[in-house]
């Protein structure tokens, strides 16, 4: 899907990086301007629009009552889904989700799940029978690079924005929200780095993503605990590079987390 590589472009971007510069003049550890807007879709129980530079992702949270998983009868259920709709890029096609889309959804899901961001045990209504199901839907609106971080940040923002709907006799009354919030315990954020030749930069732009050798996403919580990682791309990382990325990612993560306040 993203494979529109121009070797010429790679040389240009890589040469700049070797001289310590990025094509858009950012520092290696600088994000593009970030905007997080909550409550942008009032039909959803919670929502957030995240912009990182020109990349825009809208995340909606819907709640429903359903059955728990048999092996976790006392826990609510988290479901994360992503859609890379054709509106967001000439390279996105309609139809069933491709592997890039699935990867984004699963890596965002993992960050939320593994950090115990949501206290799922508080979302049990009747043990083994009825629990809250949380649907996190990632809707990419404009793809200009780094969908992972935008989606992960937006997902947590939307969860923080979520108000429980009114329930009468086990029926959800959509549209009538209570003031009760989701039980949020942690605020995980994901930071993504791209490796281009020997250089490693945070928050890759679209051009950087198109020429990058490999990508590494690190999810951390507010205590600096690492809760998910994902390497992508056909290149490789050394052990030292990975450890360095974790250090830089943890630092950038606390900056990103400020957008969740």
């Amino acid at each position: 899907m993203f494979e529109v590589v121009a070797e010429v472009k790679k040389d240009y971007i890589a040469n700049l990086l070797e001289n310590g510069k990025r094509a858009d003049e950012r520092g290696f550890d600088d994000y593009r301007p970030i905007v997080v807007e909550k409550g942008v879709s009032n039909r959803a129980e919670g929502s957030a629009l995240v912009k990182i530079g020109k990349t825009q992702v809208l995340i909606g949270v819907k709640l429903a009552i359903g059955e728990p998983f048999p092996d976790m009868p006392n826990s609510g259920v988290l479901t994360t889904n992503a859609e890379l709709i054709p509106l967001a890029s000439p390279d996105f096609e309609k139809g069933p989700p491709d592997e890039d889309t699935i990867e984004i959804a699963r890596v965002v899901d993992r960050g939320i799940r593994e950090s115990q961001c949501i206290d799922l045990d508080k979302l049990c209504i009747v043990a083994g029978e009825k629990v809250w199901i949380i649907f996190v839907d990632i809707h990419v609106l404009d793809y200009d690079g780094n969908l992972f971080d935008a989606s992960a940040l937006g997902a947590v923002a939307a969860l923080l924005d979520t108000c429980m709907p009114k329930v009468e006799e086990d029926m959800v009354i959509y549209g009538e929200k209570t003031t009760e919030r989701l039980p949020i315990l942690h605020k995980p954020v994901e930071t993504t780095f791209a490796k281009i030749n020997k250089s490693i930069v945070v928050d890759p732009s679209l051009d950087e993503e198109l020429v990058m050798d490999a990508r590494l996403t690190v999810a951390t919580d507010e205590n600096g605990t690492i809760c998910a990682m994902q390497k992508g791309g056909s290149g490789t990382f050394t052990q030292e590079e990975i450890l360095e990325i974790i250090k830089r990612g943890t630092r950038k993560g606390s900056e990103l987390r400020k957008f969740l306040e």
């Binding site: 092996d71 976790m72 009868p73 989700p97 592997e99 890039d100 699935i102 990867e103 959804a105 699963r106 993992r110 799940r113 593994e114 950090s115 490999a214 590494l216 600096g224 605990t225 690492i226 809760c227 998910a228 990682m229 994902q230 390497k231 992508g232 791309g233 056909s234 290149g235 490789t236 990382f237 050394t238 052990q239 990975i242 450890l243 974790i246 250090k247 943890t250």
Partner: protein, 239 residues
């Protein structure tokens, strides 16, 4: 506590299946086990049984996927419906598609795809019996299958996971540890260059724990690497 969660994972320095913290499960690798495939391998890794087949380089279908400058590498990870306790619905689900993708990305760095423009190299990984760590088992098998098919490569790619259970960093989780443990970190690497080609993590680790787990997983990879080489030498009769 979840259903089936053990009270303790480590008793007197031993894990629930009797292994030491840094001990791999028993691994058997066999190269060239399928007749029709251009290359193949079978790996038994603890309770995992995984088969991998490689076809190619061959013509690309559908044709528009072909690249004029290199071969395309395609990996398909699939679980047999009977390979897990609750029958898995046949066909690709989100998990297996993600694993297919990271498997391809784990192998691609070593394959000389530039030698075979306009062709496809297809790798099929079939999980016949699963017991945690199937993606690592699959990558280890796929790499041997590629070598068995005579696909030129910079190195073999071994794979192995480390994780955290009962507060300790351990090598190569089995299912109970995987289900109830605190973290899992599957890794694949190019041993000759000490470069990492697969890295995923879920769970909770501090930076120090991560560093330790990564080192342990890489040591595990080196052991798997030796077994991969042994299997190929056995098949091709070299000493």
């Amino acid at each position: 506590m979840k259903v089936g969660e053990p009270e303790k994972f480590i008793v007197k320095g031993k894990r629930l299946d009797g292994r030491k913290l840094d001990e791999l499960r028993e691994i058997k690798i066999e190269a060239g086990i399928l007749k029709r495939a251009d290359g193949s391998a079978y790996v038994e890794w603890g309770g995992n049984k995984v088969m991998a087949a490689c076809y190619g380089p061959r013509e690309v279908h559908p044709r528009h996927l072909a690249r004029s400058d290199k071969a395309i590498l395609r990996c398909t990870y699939n679980m047999a419906p009977f390979s897990v306790s609750d029958r898995k619905r046949p066909g690709p689900d989100r998990r297996s598609r993600e694993i297919s993708k990271v498997t391809r990305e784990a192998l691609e760095p070593v394959v000389f795809t530039n030698l075979f423009p306009r062709t496809a190299i297809d790798v099929f990984i079939e999980v016949l019996q699963a017991n945690a760590g199937t993606r690592c088992t699959g990558i280890a098998a796929a790499s041997v299958a590629l070598a068995d098919a005579g696909i030129p490569m910079r190195d073999l790619v071994p794979s192995c996971a480390a994780g955290k259970v009962g507060g300790e960093i351990v090598l190569d989780l089995f299912d109970v540890e995987d289900n109830f443990g605190e973290a899992d970190l599957p890794v694949a690497m190019i041993p000759r260059k000490n470069e990492i080609t697969l890295l995923q993590m879920d769970g909770n680790l501090t930076q120090e724990e991560f560093e330790k787990a990564l080192k342990l997983a890489m040591e595990g990879c080196i052991k798997v690497y030796e077994l991969q080489k042994e299997a190929l030498r056995r098949k091709y009769g070299g000493a």
